[in-house]
Amino acid sequence: MTRLALIFGLLISSVIPAFAQPAQTTPAGALPQLRYGGALSSGAPYTFRDPGDPNKIIGFEVDIMNTLAERLGYRPVFVNNDWASLIPGLDTGLYDLVINGLEITSAHQAAADFSIPYYITFGQIVIRRGDPPLDNLAALKGKRVGTLQASQMEYVLRAAGNIDVRVYDEEIDVYSDLKLGRLDASVMDFPIAVYYAKPDRALEFTGDPIGRIEYGIALKKGAHPELLANINSALSTMLADGTMHRILDRWALWTQMMAQATGDARSMLAQPIDYDRFVEATEPTTWRGQLERYMRFLPQLGWAAVATVQISVMSMVLAVAFGVVLALCRVYGGVVLDRIAQVYIEAIRGTPLLIQLLFIYYGLPKIGLQLDPYVAGVLALGLNYAAYEAENYRAGLLAIPRHQMEAAIALNMTERQSLRYVVIPQAARIVVPPTTNDFISLLKDSSLVSVISLVELTKTYELLSTTYYDYFGTGLLVGAIYLLLGLPFVRLARWAERHLSRGMTRASS
């Protein structure tokens, strides 16, 4: 067991760097870090992977952050997380602040401290080109309207009443369902519409601006009043001196509301170069261009595959080791240990893995146990799978005739020696196939760790496919990678089974 623990520790320490975020736009220097959280998937124009070079992270918020950090004397470091987990990530210390289109609403303000607005915008109605125009909220009544889950627009649409509101996690899915006729209209924040609907010839803008949306920078509640004050004064300066206007112009995002709020009536201070680049890079391309695009994905997918394998293997090592202990407790542990193991197994099997993962990473800090995302991910997956492994191994142990144990005992072995040398080696052969099965399943379940900010294969699929609106080709590519990852383990398992079966079939003598 000690040897196992050592190997486990070594693997963990060798593995963590694979999850480190790529180097940021600012070169490393003596400046202190300022880590900012955001969600990359379908993140244009906020914070997203550059479609022209998926290794780069760009966006109008990245530009704001870089300026802000420079003025405050920090080195900005981006940390990716799921959009719904952005505020919980503040509490676990994953990053110092969030700048990712978080609306300053009373619900958000109850969970985090907010800066003054850095951007003010509105909801934009989008319909299929050629459909009858819809003027305002009232015109949406009785229609199927798509928007983003947990966004301010969702709240506005629901409050209007009689609208069939459909919510989504990814903005491109809303527009794609609109085009497919699954929706009649969509209402999302103006920047989203500018980037994902305006360049699309099948869609068009319609109606009046809906509501008023203010984006603010979120910080952990009550934790950094000084930093918050500094951010506010730096933002005020950027709004007043035209810096913000210039950034927003480059991204084609300057609004009437911004002009009113800043009193800056000048029309355009900079060309929309970033917007033009985005539109150009995401334009539908020939199959040759598509192929080149996939080639560009490969390094990123390669790293993601490594991350997936690492987290799966580590989790499986933990699951097997702990599963063996649980199974031994159940079969040979006596009443008390059997009972404890049984309760553990039932509790783990009876609750969703996703909840366990969120609980360990975002819940445990409430009682003072704060874990690295990698450790939390391995722990959650490993402890969960241990419950399933334990039942496999219990079945394996029970399949070995009692006589085997008796024969060993009669040879003056202790119960422990009998288990180790006689029963467990025979049971191991039986449990190889179900354990392989579980490992393949774990390889895929490991995608859940994206909710605690780890980037692995499925997350990368999401990022790439939402960057280029290409679920199809990217999906085939990533599916193939998963298959390839599983195959060596299947072969390894076949070999192990053969190896352990020596003597168990008449032909093998």
């Binding site: 005992i409 006689v422 352990l500 168990m504 003598s509």
Partner: protein, 251 residues
């Protein structure tokens, strides 16, 4: 001569059904004793009580000076340690052989000496080879149990027990699962051990062997010893009517 096995008043029940109702006997060193009786008479249970595979309810078992004693209604806890100590001198052979299927014949014989006594691999291998040769399996040492006949497996199981250098050997119906034509090869090994002075207790239905090889015979019925007799006497002139009835068809 001091008895090597001394059994006094063993009681054992399963689910409140008494199986052994106060069994006592003594065996002297070098004796080969056959334990016979109708099915369900408790002879196998008695044998398993001798090396602690079954925990006695009450009574006393002493083998080679190691005494395992239990008063009625006393927890069995401490008995486990004593049983382990007692088994040092006691080997056992089962009806179903119970060789370890994941190990070759020689590995089966080497395992316990290496694990329990810490014997070095080379030494264990040399000893195992010698024992397997002795039971006539010198050619089969690297075979897996599944590729051996029943008789070969049972002789291997005897070699495996002998590797722990026991002073007393227990056999629980060692030939019942065997083809009639290979029964003798197993019984011959036991006769050979008898000549070498091994103390052996055999639960058996093999009346011919009981009569030919035993120093004496213990007849049990319904959890009690009915008769302990010389092998010739019990077959020719059983004292108890129950013995007479049981042996009737063998006479």
């Amino acid at each position: 001569m001091q008895p090597i096995v001394r059994v006094e008043g063993i009681h054992k029940s399963f689910d409140k059904t008494p199986i052994l109702k106060g069994v006592s006997f003594q065996i002297e060193e070098g004796d080969l004793v056959s334990l016979i009786g109708p099915s369900g008479c408790g002879k196998s249970t008695l044998l398993r009580c001798l090396n602690g595979l079954e925990v006695l309810d009450s009574g006393r078992v002493e083998i080679c000076g190691v005494a395992m004693e239990r008063k009625p209604n006393v927890p069995a806890g401490p008995l486990a340690d004593i049983a382990h100590k007692l088994r040092r001198n006691v080997g056992m052979v089962f009806q179903t052989f119970n060789l370890f299927p994941h190990k070759t014949l020689i590995q089966n014989v080497m395992l316990a000496p290496m694990v329990v006594k810490g014997v070095a691999r080379d030494e264990a291998a040399a000893m195992a080879e010698k024992l397997l040769k002795k039971v006539g399996l010198g050619e089969q040492v690297d075979r897996y149990p599944l590729n051996l006949s029943g008789g070969q497996q049972q002789r291997g199981a005897i070699a495996r027990a002998l590797a722990m250098a026991p002073k007393v050997m227990l056999y629980d119906e060692p030939t019942s699962a065997l083809d009639p034509i290979v029964v003798d090869e197993v019984l011959d090994v036991m006769k050979e051990l008898d000549r070498e002075g091994m103390t052996q207790i055999v639960v058996t239905h093999e009346m011919r062997f009981a009569r030919d090889a035993s120093d004496y015979i213990v007849f049990m019925d319904k959890g009690e010893i009915i008769e302990i007799s010389d092998e010739d006497e019990i077959f020719q002139n059983p004292k108890d009517p129950r013995t007479r009835q049981f042996l009737h068809r063998f006479l």
